[in-house]
Symmetry: C2
Subunit: 514 residues, 2 copies
Amino acid sequence: MSETGTRRRARGGGGAARRAARSAVSFETAKYIERNIPNFEVLTEEALEIIEANAETILEEVGVNFVNNPAALDRWRDAGADVQGERVRIPKGLARKLCATAPSQFTQHARNPERNVVIGGNNLVLAPVYGPPFVHDAKGGRRYAKMEDFQNFVKLGYMSKWLHHSGGTVCEPTDVAVNKRHLDMLHAHMTLSDKPFMGSVTEPSRAQDSVEMCEILFGKDFVQENTVMTSLININSPMTFDDVMMGALEVYAQNNQACIISPFIVGGAMAPVSVAGTLTQVLAEGLAGIAYSQLIRPGAPVIMGAFVTSIDMNSGAPTFGTPEASQITYGAGQLARRLGLPYRSAGSFCGSKLPDAQAAYETANSLNMGLLAGVNFMLHACGWLEGGLAASYEKFVMDADQLGALHKMAQGVAIDDNAQAMDAIREVGPGGHFLGCAHTQANFKTAFWRSDLLDYKPFETWAEEGSRDTMALASARVEKLLADYQQPAIDPAVNEALNSYIANKKASMPDVIG
Amino acid sequence: MSETGTRRRARGGGGAARRAARSAVSFETAKYIERNIPNFEVLTEEALEIIEANAETILEEVGVNFVNNPAALDRWRDAGADVQGERVRIPKGLARKLCATAPSQFTQHARNPERNVVIGGNNLVLAPVYGPPFVHDAKGGRRYAKMEDFQNFVKLGYMSKWLHHSGGTVCEPTDVAVNKRHLDMLHAHMTLSDKPFMGSVTEPSRAQDSVEMCEILFGKDFVQENTVMTSLININSPMTFDDVMMGALEVYAQNNQACIISPFIVGGAMAPVSVAGTLTQVLAEGLAGIAYSQLIRPGAPVIMGAFVTSIDMNSGAPTFGTPEASQITYGAGQLARRLGLPYRSAGSFCGSKLPDAQAAYETANSLNMGLLAGVNFMLHACGWLEGGLAASYEKFVMDADQLGALHKMAQGVAIDDNAQAMDAIREVGPGGHFLGCAHTQANFKTAFWRSDLLDYKPFETWAEEGSRDTMALASARVEKLLADYQQPAIDPAVNEALNSYIANKKASMPDVIG
């Protein structure tokens, strides 16, 4: 269904085609990462057991709140929980037992089957930034996001080799009414990309719209039998499950669609200031939320999430790429694996207001940690700026480029005869060089990961070309990508049905300004 | 011997003193890192055994060259190697056996005993950039380094909380004759800082001068009984040990001073393009060099080094922060630990010409990897720019700030009752917040690592203050640090003796332009 690899400008043939090929932007998408390296584990067996026992204690003694949701309270009561008002106290062992029906991995289908992703196991699926109300670029600075920006980010995601997933709210299109924009956002993901995507969670009715649009795109039976959306259900930490998010979860779980059930924690505010305490709460919240999904539909696909940052106790600002967040991310990965559940965490997190060195330090800290923590689904893998308040055009392509390094790192170290390279060492010997030896000639094309963006030129060449920093290089790349974008083909009848669905829906609703 | 914590401007007393205290730059130095986290290991036991066997095969079949060094050839012949011309073939097992006398860890003494470092075991000692002929700053751009720059970098290193070591050639002071500059460089480390430092390796005679200056600083007996320098001996990869570097090694080993014996490898040029092949060569070279140090003096302290980058096969440029370099660094750490030797690798590596996002991505990749790879001595831990051609003032303080995060990460996760924070979770409960709870009040000051440099302010405040990027923040910090610098006290008699030694040495030599 896609036209991967074909390009508009290449159609001219002859010299024009060759010139175009030289400057071509690849539409290739890498397969999701299949790790061939160990996970990094900061918690000892003893620490894990203490945290697991504490989480059960919290669920039993303190409990969680399910707000404005009598049906949820009934479900919990029927399952054996102690329900007082909106407080649900879950006896030790119950939540864990309920979680056991959730699959350890699942396939999310894309409309282009080559872009299907398997979430769980040793895999890592990368999806772009989610949720910013602002966008930022070098030319326009920071401004409220519009639908055109949203479409641009979907296009950039579609063209990014190292992104496996189109994501969800890549930015909030504030120029469309809040009760209608999910329709346009889904339409963009469905028609401007052919990668898998996320559904709306801002109202249960919008989750239902998401399912219905997927039924148009994939067919009604296909959606009931397969997972075609992975949507983000945030827990209101500490330990509160609101009716909006739970309503969306209920729609998705009933329809066999996947939910990321994820605490959103600024440590020190929504959780204790300690790593072990935060992990206890993350686990308690995850257990309660995932157990609830299985009360809706046993076997419904879920991902255990941990969005954790810490607070700067001087200013109250959230901070990113910090060691405490890394420790929590490593530890939560261990806890998720012991539950046998797919794990979501990490991302291109930073607090910087520009895609500068601060942004890159913080982001690299978080991306590397995400790979080694055994994360299975990394939302926000590129484009996050300013604590998530802005989606940055330049940082989107800068981060997306760095994601290539994660792919190579995850392959692990080959140890076959070719990798041992004994003949090369014998051939070259002391004092020689390997540039021309047979082994180098046979392997150099795939030997080293290479950035498509960063500057490897000598100082003099770089200076002659204008002494550009990374932001300037990224700005040029964004411009080129958007100019070269080509929409993947879609069945015109499907497209028309989507447009008709959206038009009818919009006509039935007044504009709500969010 | 130091005046840690005192400041020139604080002497005014009263309001001036309080204002000064509020803007004070701390002179505190953190203890070297003692890791309480596991090492990350990419190689399986099987892969390690193959690489170890292959390295022994290379040493026996191919051998290494000791160039212009008949005494070294005699030593090898006496030890049982097969010496033909300058080629030394080392029977399987011999190098490993010789390495066994090298200590698994050792103390390097500083003139301020509080700054002594223990190199080896679970420790990580951080030292600044080494070797650049250029310096770079925001105001002056890139220019040849001078002695004033060298002194400035020593001052910045002295004032950096997270740097444990003053390093060696923090930049090449090109305005001093090449045969004399080592004297001025050593003098700067000895008098402008009280942290441990490195000796000269550019001629054996300069290594001897380094020992003699240390005898003045520490006392002659002390130097013979203790290690007071850790100096960098590069192997000319592939498998060549030149007389200059080996001559310096001989001086240091004879005097019980430590050497980092380190291949300098641009993968694809000085080693095979494969990770396993490069590790085989790194191990073979390390074994030969370390074995040779033990032929000079059994028990001489050494560090097994691995400086590895890969080549961009498009341009021939070295690249940094790449996944292949990470895999080699992780793997070489495993090999060093199996040899029971301290390990040197990683650093603030980047290829960028500016301290921009590229520099920070590449550097963060390398710093994080260095921590998790079990590195014991990290040279180039801050300030490296442009593939090591330039020492950057701004990047020095930017990287040095990031090193703080490594300290916190290395502490691991506490699991005592306070860390479990069960009372906090019980106190706050669902829907509350932790900002004011007793546990937060008791722990917030030490809970989260906090950058001293990066911007955590809201967008509006940041914009009002001039929308500064990280380079601008770092530039201001460099200026403040150098303005606030205060020299640590030194015995005037020692200082005079050093000055006299240097004056006599210089008077005995013509200027040599390097």
